[in-house]
């Protein structure tokens, strides 16, 4: 078991190296000059600064040497300096990551819980009206752009009902120290709701399939014959067998979650990692972009790794099969 985890860790490490090579070669292949891209249209950059950029990218060396020196500085935590914010990329990422993480975490838990329950309800009432409603809801949600959902929620709850503010993570014009916790929650509710509404579909459908499989199995037939009630069957058999796949599915969902949070943050002007990446991409802030890309990929790889381990290692029936 330790061995299989180790193999997976090594694989993730090679994937991360591959990712950095891919990112680097994409930038290298592109017709633009990294030094120019870094400086942007900024004519105020002094010759020393240009020299520093050239050194950072190692412009005069071969691509392989360039990559190695770039990767080396990444490993030392030197992601370069953002052009837009004029501060080290890593500092910006650190300050934004928590805001994003709160949003994604809340949506993750909420969509997992609701999705799992909906899936179970649909499976237990298979073929009945409620099952069809849940199925229709999930399939429709898969076709719904998350930003449109966000806009609709914004119109209904912020503009018509005025329950929630239109955007931002804290009230405008208020000092950071005076922001109350309730204000944060108030600003945070709509984006989190948007993200969770769409995250539900995936878990719900998979849990439904899984639960139907379980309910069709022989041990359930036997449990029914023993006279267990629906709730007992769910508690004793259904829950244990279906919760783990649902959790690992949620972990594998990190990539979609991050993409979704980029869109939700854009709609609600929520200052997280995603909206920072959008701004960086639009304004051509390459160092910040690369930094966020690497960090977000690390996040997604971690999610996939956890899902993998849960799938293959924690489930005792899989122990021999690794």
């Amino acid at each position: 078991m330790a061995k299989s985890i180790a193999i997976r860790l090594v694989r993730v490490a090679t994937l991360l190296i591959g990712l950095s090579i891919l990112t680097f070669s994409l930038i290298h292949l592109s017709p633009m000059d990294p030094v120019n891209a870094y400086i942007g249209g900024d004519t105020s950059a002094s010759p020393e600064q240009i020299e520093k950029f050239k050194q950072y990218w190692g412009v005069d060396k071969s691509p392989v040497e360039q990559y190695l020196s770039w990767a080396g500085s990444l490993l030392q935590g030197n992601f370069g300096t953002s052009l837009l914010y004029r501060s080290p990329v890593l500092d910006i990422i650190q300050s934004r990551f928590l805001t994003s993480l709160a949003l994604m975490g809340a949506a993750w838990l909420l969509s997992g819980g609701i999705g799992y329950s909906l899936g179970v309800i649909a499976a237990v009432h298979r073929g009945k009206l409620i099952d069809r409603i849940i199925k229709w809801y999930s399939y429709t949600l898969v076709s719904t752009p998350i930003f449109w959902m966000g806009l609709i929620l914004l119109i209904v709850f912020a503009v018509w009902l005025k329950w929630f503010p239109v955007g931002l993570a804290v009230p405008a014009g208020v000092l950071e120290s005076e922001v109350r916790f309730i204000d944060r929650v108030h600003h945070f509710a709509l984006p989190a709701l948007t993200l969770s509404i769409l995250g539900v579909a995936n878990v719900a459908m998979h849990t439904r399939e899984k639960m139907i499989d379980i309910l069709n199995s022989e041990y359930i037939v036997f449990a029914k014959a023993r006279g267990e009630s629906k709730w007992q069957i769910f508690k004793n058999h259904g829950f244990r067998n279906s919760i783990l796949p649902a959790i690992s599915l949620q972990f594998a969902y990190f990539g979609e979650l991050f993409g979704g949070s980029m869109l939700a943050e854009q709609v609600f002007a929520y200052p997280g990692l995603g909206s920072t990446l959008t701004t960086a991409g639009l304004k051509g802030d390459l160092p910040l972009m690369v930094g966020i890309i690497l960090v977000s990929s690390l996040f997604v790889f971690a999610g996939n790794l956890i899902a993998d381990i849960l799938n293959k290692v924690v489930d005792p029936r899989m122990k021999g099969a690794v």
Binding site: R11, T14, L15, G18, L19, L22, T23, L26, I27, L29, S30, P31, M32, Y139, T140, V142, S143, T144, P145, I146, F147, W148, L151, I152, L154, I155, A158, V159, V166, E209, F254, G255, E256, F258, G259, M262, L263, Q266, V267, L277, T278, G281, L282, G284, L286, M289, I292, I293, S296, S297, V300, F301, N304
Partner: protein, 277 residues
Amino acid sequence: MLSVQEGWNVRKTMLLLAASSAAFLLLLLFLGFWLSNDNLRLSVARNLPPSWEHPFGTDWLGRDMFTRTIKGLRLSLSVGALASVISVVVAIVMGTCAAVFGKAADAVISWIIDLFIGMPHLVFMILICFIAGGGIYGIVLGISLTHWTALARVVRSEVLQVKNAEYIQISRSCGKSAWYIARRHIWPAIFPQILIGFLLMFPHVILHEAALTFLGFGLSPQTPAIGIILSEAMSHISTGKWWLVVFPGLLLVVVIKSFDSIGERIRILLEPASSHE
């Protein structure tokens, strides 16, 4: 007896549903070419709520939102088609290579697939869009390079199954070349899977295209793309112009759902055994 219903069965219902979805999409496409650009001129009919003359209302410049939406969807559909075709080609090549060229190639390709799956798609698309310098070109490239992975896995496992079938071994011992076998035996056998993969990829591709243009990547603000329409409408939400957001988005959802339903129905028609899942 059920003999009354003879001649009408689930298969025909499925066909009918798929055909009506397809007809709907064709109608939209036709409208996209038929509606004149005159409706996009600036006019004095600003900020009108939906009416018979302007089913989706007009925006703050007096442009007819129905025309803008339809034209935007036409763009989405063409970008989606192009990007899906490229992804499918990449998936076929990668999947076939993984299945045919032995263990090493298989390991390398599955590693590449893991790499592409591991990255958040939207993030990677933004990187490619940025590097390609924006424009339709960047969007198509970005989308097609990120959507081939799932289909490549399917192609790989299908090819692996077919590869050792008897008729292929006979064909091989008759001295046919690998290219001949791939073209005449393997690809026809996996064609249904590829068709289904292509159709089910379409909704994702259109969603991602809309997301990219919504974030502001690629296209100039004058282009009637569905994402741009929605992101422009975003700044007019607080003044209560709900129709700018609701209708274009709703039509987009309907289009995506139609594609999804065509893909699903055709999948069921081609694999009748799976219809009860």
